[in-house]
Structure formats: C-alpha cells, structure tokens
C-alpha cells in the first residue's frame, strides 16, 4: 500500500501549537509511525537531510541566534541541555590562600574567583585534559583515594596568581578628600590583576600576548581593600562540566523558543487595524492601504519579533478575528557564550557531544549479554 500523502494545509495545521488566552492546545508531536493510518512517518535520513534548514539571524562571537527547522523538541532540547551542562570548560577550582587580610572571607573570595570566566588560545584549551580528582576528601586522608588521583601537570592544570597589597597614596591628601581612588593605591582588586603562570608546554599552547589564559572581562571587581590589607593567593584551574558546577558552564544562556504564528481569520480594518498593530511589538503587524482611498488593513509582517504576549486576545473585538499559535518544530535558538568559546562553535560542540554519547553507548551495547 502506497503511503497516504498529506495536503500542505493539513501538514501545517498539524504542526501548529494553539495559543489561546488561557490555554495551549496540540502540544505533542504526532509524527510517529502508526499515528495517522496509512501515512509513512518512519525515520528517513534522506528526508531529514533534504528538509532540515539552519537559518542564522545573528552571529557575533559571543552571541548567536539561529533557527533550526524542522526538528523535534526532544533533539533540540538535547542540544540545549548539552550546551548548558556538558561542554567542558576551564575554570578556577582550587584556591590556595597564602595571605588574606581583606574583609572578604577566604571561602567567599574563592567562590567568587571560581565564577570568573577565563579565556585563552582555543587550540590550547582543547589540548587541556581533565584532571582526575581524588574520590573524596575522606578517602584522600586515609590514603585510599591516592591511587585514583592525577598529579597536577601542564596538560591538566593551569596556575594563576593574585598578589595585591593596598597602601596609602603618596603625598598628603587634600582636606576632606573621600575618594578611595585618590586616597589609596590598589584599593580595588580586579579580574585583570590575576596573573597567569605558565609551565612546560603551556608556554607554547598559550603564547603571549593573545593566547594567554586571562579573564574574559578584565574589570570584574573581586574585592575591596584598605591600606595595610593584602591578598596573596594561588589558583589552580581545571577542566570541568556545567553539570558539576555552574562555573564550568560555557554559556550565559542557551535557550530556544518556538516560532510564533498569527493568523488573521477575518479582515481587521481602519481604527481597529491600528489598535491591533499596537497589541504587538513593533514590526510584527503592518498596515496596508486597500485600493486608492480604501481603508487600512492589518497584515502579518514578521512573526519572529512577536513575544506572544496574547494582548490582542484581551480585546473583545479581535477575539474571533485572530488565531495565535507557535510552530512546534521551528526552534529559534539563542546562545550567549561566557567568552571562553565562540557561540557557533559551542553549538557545533554540543552536536559532537551528542554523537559521542551514541558512539560510546553503541559500543557498550555490543558488549551487553543478551
């Protein structure tokens, strides 16, 4: 039996999620074999390769937005989850405090340092390996964890230093001077004060000046000090993943939304059309002149800009004239990098990690006792 074909109107109707004033409808995917009698919904790589489209909207180094369609939510969500929690990055993990007489406590300062996004030469970062931690502190003390532990080496640990002492500015300050920047030297400790101490192959992997391991944002305020106070510490950075700690997450945000749809069922004209356009963000609804001296008519211009606020559904006059929705298989991704990697590379990395999961588990499956 030849598969039943579906009209374009029916195909479109099927992939629209209805958005009403208070409810949503048709949320789940229905593109499975057996869901519609006689239709073929089996997975076909050729069909996917033919239909699948990527459309870029923005691609600056640390912020990308792009559309992926048609794609199922389960796959899109896997990419999103991997972006947030499974792409390895370098972050400060161990802080050895030699001296800290500032008012910010050791542990608070260490937590702050951990969250500072770092960057360096891309190839060097990819060359870095995971540092195998001791199984637990308890085990470590009894010696049980020692065998499991890696030693810190040039390919798994990056050493940073922060040494800063606050003092009075030279000379007699003016009477009544209160500005700390005039009165003191080094009263503010910034991320740019963190110093990279390369060892071994790190000289080659992170060359000066562009390849050095350094904070992405030099002006992050780490601590404040007053004359006589000192911060002197050493930091060890290791690779980790966001699932372990948010500081290892390579993205500030990685999210998606579904493409909104607006269907005008009955013409909206004149004053009503203007009011209708004001229910949406700028550029979503346009006004068109009908004929030479006809009235203006509301037309849908760019649904991508819509926020689906559902404002138009609050007005009695539009209730039966418009249908809002979203396209279930059109994902508009937004990936904002913290600065260690570029956004588009991060997405490609997430796809690679999903594939690697499959490769490893397929190998694992071959060894399963049947």
């Amino acid at each position: 039996m030849a598969p039943v074909s579906v009209s374009p109107e029916e195909a479109r109707r099927r992939k629209i999620v209805g958005v009403n004033a208070e409810t949503v409808t048709h949320v789940s995917s229905t593109d499975f074999p057996g869901h519609y009698p006689g239709e073929d919904h089996a997975w076909s790589l050729e069909k996917f390769a033919k239909d699948f489209t990527v459309q870029f909207h923005q691609n600056s180094p640390y912020e990308s937005t792009f559309s992926l369609f048609p794609l199922d939510a389960s796959i899109a969500n896997a990419f999103r989850r991997i972006l947030i929690a499974e792409i390895p990055t370098l972050a400060i993990e161990y802080v050895f405090i030699h001296n800290n007489t500032s008012i910010i406590q050791d542990e608070v300062l260490a937590a702050r340092l951990g969250l500072v996004p770092l960057t360096g030469r891309l190839e060097g970062l990819n060359w870095m390996q995971f540092y195998k931690r001791p199984v637990s502190d308890e085990h470590d003390a009894s010696g049980g964890g020692e065998t499991e532990r890696d030693t810190a080496a040039d390919n798994n640990t990056v050493v940073l230093k922060l040494q800063k002492e606050c003092s009075w500015a030279p000379g007699q300050p003016k009477e009544g001077e209160t500005d700390p920047n005039v009165l003191y030297i080094n009263s503010n400790v910034y991320a740019k004060d963190i110093e990279f101490i390369p060892t071994g192959r790190q000289f080659k992997e992170f060359p000066s000046p562009d390849g050095l391991i350094r904070p992405v944002n030099p002006d992050i305020l780490l601590a404040k000090m007053r004359p006589g106070q000192t911060i002197d510490l050493e930091m060890h950075c290791v690779k980790g993943i966001g699932a372990d700690h948010a500081k290892f997450s390579p993205v500030a945000t990685a999210s998606y939304r579904l493409l909104p749809t607006i269907d005008i069922l009955k013409p909206i004209v004149g004053q009503e059309a203007r009011k209708f356009a004001r229910c949406f963000p700028k550029g979503v609804i346009g006004l068109e002149q009908e004929g030479e001296e006809g009235e203006v008519r509301a037309v849908v211009r760019d649904t991508m800009r819509d926020t689906v606020s559902r404002e138009c559904l609050r007005h009695e006059e539009f209730k039966d004239k418009v249908k809002l929705g979203r396209v279930r298989d059109h994902f508009i991704f937004g990936v904002e990098s913290t600065g260690q990697f570029e956004s588009d590379l991060l997405f490609l990395e997430s796809v690679k990690i999903l594939k690697m999961k499959c490769v490893r588990l397929k190998r694992s499956l071959a060894n399963v006792t049947r």
């Binding site: 919904h41 792009f66 896997a78 997405f347 690679k352 999961k357 399963v368």
Partner: protein, 136 residues
C-alpha cells in the same frame, strides 16, 4: 506465562555500607564514560526489554526515545529516570515480531548519529554563508 513472571522476581541486594560506594554516589564525574554502561533489566526477551543506562539523563533519554519511536517496527518506547539521586536512566522498548530490541536500539543510535552529522553539516554551511554575507 506464569513461568516468565516467576523469573521477574529478583532478590534485592542490601544497601552498601556507608562510605563503601562513595565513588558511585558522587554523580557522573566518577563514572568512566568508556565503561560498560548499558545493562538489560530482568524479565527481558527478544521483543520486549528494559535497558538501564548509567550516567545518562533526559538529554539522551528523550532524544533516543524519539528516534526509536520513529521506527515502524517498534510497538512502544518510553524512558524514565527512576530516582533523581541515582544517575541512571531506563529505556523500555517493545517491538513487533520480526526484529529484536537490540537491533532497534542499535538503529536508534545509528539514526541519532546520522542526524548529528546532518545538523553539523547544515549548521556549518549556513554559518559560513551568513558570515560571508555580513562581510561586504
């Protein structure tokens, strides 16, 4: 039928002494990703089985479930994470006659890998086009 059911009752091991099992309770980071991480749960036959995946979660679970459900030879596929404090994910597969759950699962992996390749290729192409258009 009853004989099959009788086999499904399994004796349960005692919980490990405190400290003994720390390596596993610590989460993903202590499970070597190259270890044997798939196990067939008791009560399986060729057309109906549950697989236990160690150190996997909704990320792979839902994506794999979708790919397996796209296979017309599959009667049912579902996944669950039985307990949030155990890094384990179960996938249940039931197939029609003429295939086995192992083949179906393997096809699921293959399809997902094929999808990843297409996404990478199309993404790279679209990005390079976009960057080229932004330049002049």
């Amino acid at each position: 039928m009853p004989s099959v059911l009788a086999n499904e009752d399994q004796a349960m091991d005692d919980a490990p002494q405190s400290g003994e099992n720390l390596a596993e309770s610590g989460g993903d980071s202590f499970i070597d990703l190259n270890d044997q991480r798939i196990r067939v749960l008791p009560g399986a036959n060729d057309t109906a089985a549950s697989f236990e995946f160690e150190a996997e979660d909704h990320t792979l679970g839902n994506a794999l479930r979708y790919m397996i459900m796209k296979n017309p030879q599959v009667e049912l596929c579902g996944y669950s994470i039985p307990h949030p404090s155990e890094a384990k994910m179960n996938i249940r597969i039931q197939t029609y006659e003429g295939t086995t759950v192992y083949d179906v699962l393997e096809k699921g992996f293959d399809d997902l890998m094929g999808l990843c390749d297409v996404v990478t290729e199309k993404f790279t192409g679209a990005r390079d086009d976009f960057n080229a258009r932004q330049k002049p």
